[in-house]
Amino acid sequence: MDTSLQTESLLHTGTTFFPEGVGPFASSMDSLFYFIFWGSVIIFVPLILVSIYFLIAYRRKRENQLATKQMTHSTFLELAWTVPPTILVLIVFVWGFKGFLHMSVAPLNSQEIHVSGKKWFWEFSYPNGNKGIGELVVPVDTPVTLLMTSEDVIHSFFVPNFRIKRDVLPNRYTKLWFEADKVGNYQVFCTEYCGDGHSAMLAVVRVLSAEDYEDWLAEANSGDDLPLDKLGEKLYTSKACATCHSTDGTSRVGPTWKSLFGSKKAFVGGGTATVDENYIHESIVNPGAKVVAGFDNVMPTYAGSLNDREISALIAYIKTLQ
């Protein structure tokens, strides 16, 4: 998987069933899980033991052996195994509902970040106008509200460490909030099936300390000092090009970038062209215009997501991949 940042391990942190919990929802949710878990064990194990006892004690030893007692009902027993489970599940219900309400009402002072899901990457727009792909940067101990929408099909935004998830719908906004209380890099998954790149539609939440966050804000537009082809190489992973385009010649969802520049391509619906600067620019801004034969028209437009310098940087980078 091409993620530039190493995230905290989900499997090797936390408890047996849960990854390490970060933020306000984890503790209540994990306790509820283990409440149900141990409640189930307390019911399940005796049930199995009793069944095994019955199997041994009442095993048929002679072919014509009959049951020693016929019993068709017992009001006491039936009440005993109907009423307590009902009370238990009602407790679980109230507990779950409270937690759910907590998750659905964001604090008023939260910082708002727009999230856009596209096949197959996440784009984040910050209040100061900055945009980022595949990486959500937030300060620690600050409530953050994500205002999310999709450009194409339904996606779903899931951060296991935060215990949050919400569908991301086209033509509609959905909300999600969290407050990270620990610095670190946390894994984001798309959890609503969205096509070929679904399992590659990942992102990272970078939770920074207050000072680091200030630094990040200050250098957010850095990259100006990088040479174009180096910037392009950086953008290749940070803007999620790598999800669909390889640089080693293997074919993914889109054509590989290796030896792309200067090659001759045939297009869906006829026509051919040599790949030059103009073609690459067009393919980034208006990907559906000329789709290389053998591939589907699935790439979203990057118009507005990349500035001119960044597009030039990508072109420069592709030129180096001969």
Binding site: M1, L10, L11, G14, F17, F25, L32, F33, I36, F37, S40, F44, V50, S51, F54, L55, Y58, R59, R60, L66, A67, T68, K69, Q70, M71, T72, S74, E78, W81, T86, V89, L90, V92, F93, W95, G96, F97, K98, G99, L101, H102, D152, I154, S156, P160, R166, D167, L169, P170, N171, R172, F189, T191, E192, Y193, C194, D196, H198, S199, D296
Partner: protein, 531 residues
């Protein structure tokens, strides 16, 4: 060999006598064959999926092929296998026998249902060869509107299969109301019949909503009417509501008949009257009714209103209670019985074990806050496999072993059955228990690739799928072998009380030499002592 008695299998000969038959037993056998083929096909897709998932890298399939595989696995298993499995095969065979009737109320309609099923299956097969659909079996819009694969043929296939299901449901309801033998009052019905009755009600009430939904999806793709398409002002979440209005009750179409089989198995192999007959019968009906009101628990993270979510969660817990009551009743039935551990009873025990785990994890998923974390992860995948496969498939296989001597007049090899059961139980838990942990740790479902840290658990799960496959292959072997070499079965090998055991094995074409008159309950083992 002695002369084989005249029975429904040898009464008439030739392919035509099968394809034009009106005999519910033959139609049941024809369904059984189709369903077994569908199960094999779906299982094959499952093995391919698990093989690809042994590593996060590409092994055999591309991402697109993987997506097509899990879609076909789901669609085949749901629409072609598990929905019709028990009602259409065992149900068709048994219902008139257990009612003491000569046939179902509408034999021609019954045969029509089978042809409709085959016709729908052909559409599904066409979809597989003509660019295999990749939307997931749920066909969520707008992805299914845009997908370049053969969505329409699979959708039409499911649409047509739905009508087969509806017609079977209509047929069963009328049969149970009107075709009962003299003296067979409602509370003398075997619990299998009650279960089939509740199932049929859901089939009739829920399936048409799926039908219209799928039809609208077809219109969406062909004409773009826009109801589900956000680009045209429609609402993709409406599709989810419509879809789950069918597909949640459909879960009970799958599990209720399985519960019916459980009641038959536990009474026969314990020689006991069932504990809490009325509770079990009415809980089937209660489940059937409440099941229509819980569909929203599939949409807790879709953005529906918090109050809707609250009500759906509460109702979800209410529907869990009758299922729990049934489990307790079955255990109570074992008390002071005369318990004989044969293959069908092994599957009864397997069901109890796996279904309980499925149920408890269901309680976790029904909790609103927990569902936010667990939704669309492997935890859900594991949960519904514990319920559907650990529940329905275990019961189906248990029932198949139980009624096998009645259906074919042959006994199978009991030792091999025990070995196969052990493989199935071990393999199943290896595959799916692992997935509970994967899921709650954060592994999303329908992922072609995954984080490297998950690989050991995925690999373990894949190895489990091979153990499971060995169990099923062994089962297929000894069951087919029994048809050729099996010992001849007596008319009542298990000493059961219900009516189907009071005619010869296999039964004659019109089931009973003379219409039976019923004078006692279905599990009245206490009578034997007195007489």
């Amino acid at each position: 060999m002695s002369q084989v008695a005249l029975n429904y299998l040898n009464a008439t000969k030739g392919l035509k006598s099968w394809f034009c038959t009106l005999d519910h037993k033959r139609i049941g056998i024809m369904y059984l064959i189709c369903i077994a083929v569908a199960f094999g096909l779906g299982g094959f897709f499952a093995l391919a999926l698990r093989l690809e998932l042994i590593s996060p890298k590409e092994i055999l399939f591309t991402a697109k092929q993987y997506n097509q595989l899990f879609t076909l696995h789901g669609a085949v298993m749901v629409f072609l296998f598990i929905v019709p499995s028990i009602p259409a095969s065992l149900g068709n065979f048994l219902l008139p026998l257990q009612l003491g009737a000569k046939d179902v109320a509408f034999p021609r309609l019954n045969l029509t249902s089978w042809y409709v099923y085959v016709f729908g299956a052909l559409f599904c097969v066409y979809s597989m060869v003509a660019g295999a659909v990749d939307t997931g079996w749920t066909f969520y819009t707008p992805y299914s509107i845009d997908s370049a694969t053969s969505v329409i043929s699979m959708t039409l296939g499911a649409f047509i299969l739905g009508f087969s299901s509806i017609l079977t449901g209509v047929n069963f309801i009328v049969t149970i109301h009107k075709m009962r033998a003299p003296g067979l009052t409602w509370f003398r019905l075997p619990l299998m019949v009650w279960a089939l009755y509740a199932t049929s009600i859901i089939q009739v009430l829920a399936t048409p909503v799926l039908a219209i939904t799928l039809l609208l999806l077809v219109l969406e793709r062909t004409m773009g009417i826009g109801i589900f398409n956000p680009a045209l002002g429609g609402d993709p979440v409406l599709f989810q509501h419509f879809f789950w209005f069918y597909s949640h009750p459909a879960v009970y179409i799958m599990i209720l008949p399985a519960m019916g089989i459980m009641s038959e198995l536990v009474t026969t192999f314990c020689r006991k009257d069932i504990f809490g007959y009325k509770m079990i019968a009415f809980s089937s009906l209660a489940i059937a009714i409440i099941s229509f009101l819980v569909w929203g628990h599939h949409l807790f993270v879709s953005g529906q209103s918090d109050y809707a979510a609250m009500i759906f969660s509460l109702l979800t817990y209410l529907v869990a209670i009758p299922s729990a009551v049934k489990v307790f009743n079955w255990v109570a039935t074992m008390y002071r019985g005369s318990i004989q551990i044969k293959a069908p009873f092994l599957y009864f025990l397997g069901f109890m074990f796996l279904f309980c785990i499925g149920g408890f994890t269901g309680v976790m998923l029904g909790a609103l806050s927990l569902d936010v974390h667990l939704h669309d992860t492997y935890f859900v995948v594991a949960h519904f496999h514990y319920v559907m496969m650990g529940g329905t498939v275990m019961a189906f296989i248990g029932g198949l072993h139980y009624w096998w001597p009645k259906m074919f007049g042959r006994m199978y090899n009991e030792t091999l059955a025990l070995i196969a059961w052990a493989f199935v139980m071990l393999g199943f838990n290896m595959v799916f228990f692992t997935q509970f942990i994967l899921g709650s740790k954060g592994m999303p479902r329908r992922y072609y690739s995954y984080l490297d840290q998950f690989q050991p658990l995925h690999a373990f799960s894949t190895v489990g799928s091979w153990v499971l496959a060995v169990g099923f292959i062994l089962m297929a072997f000894y069951l087919i072998d029994s048809l050729l070499n099996g010992k001849k079965a007596p008319s009542n090998p298990w000493g059961a009380m219900t009516l189907e055991w009071q005619t010869q094995s296999p039964p004659i074409t019109e089931n009973f030499l003379e219409t039976p008159v019923v004078t006692h309950g279905p599990y009245d083992f206490g009578m034997e002592k007195q007489s």
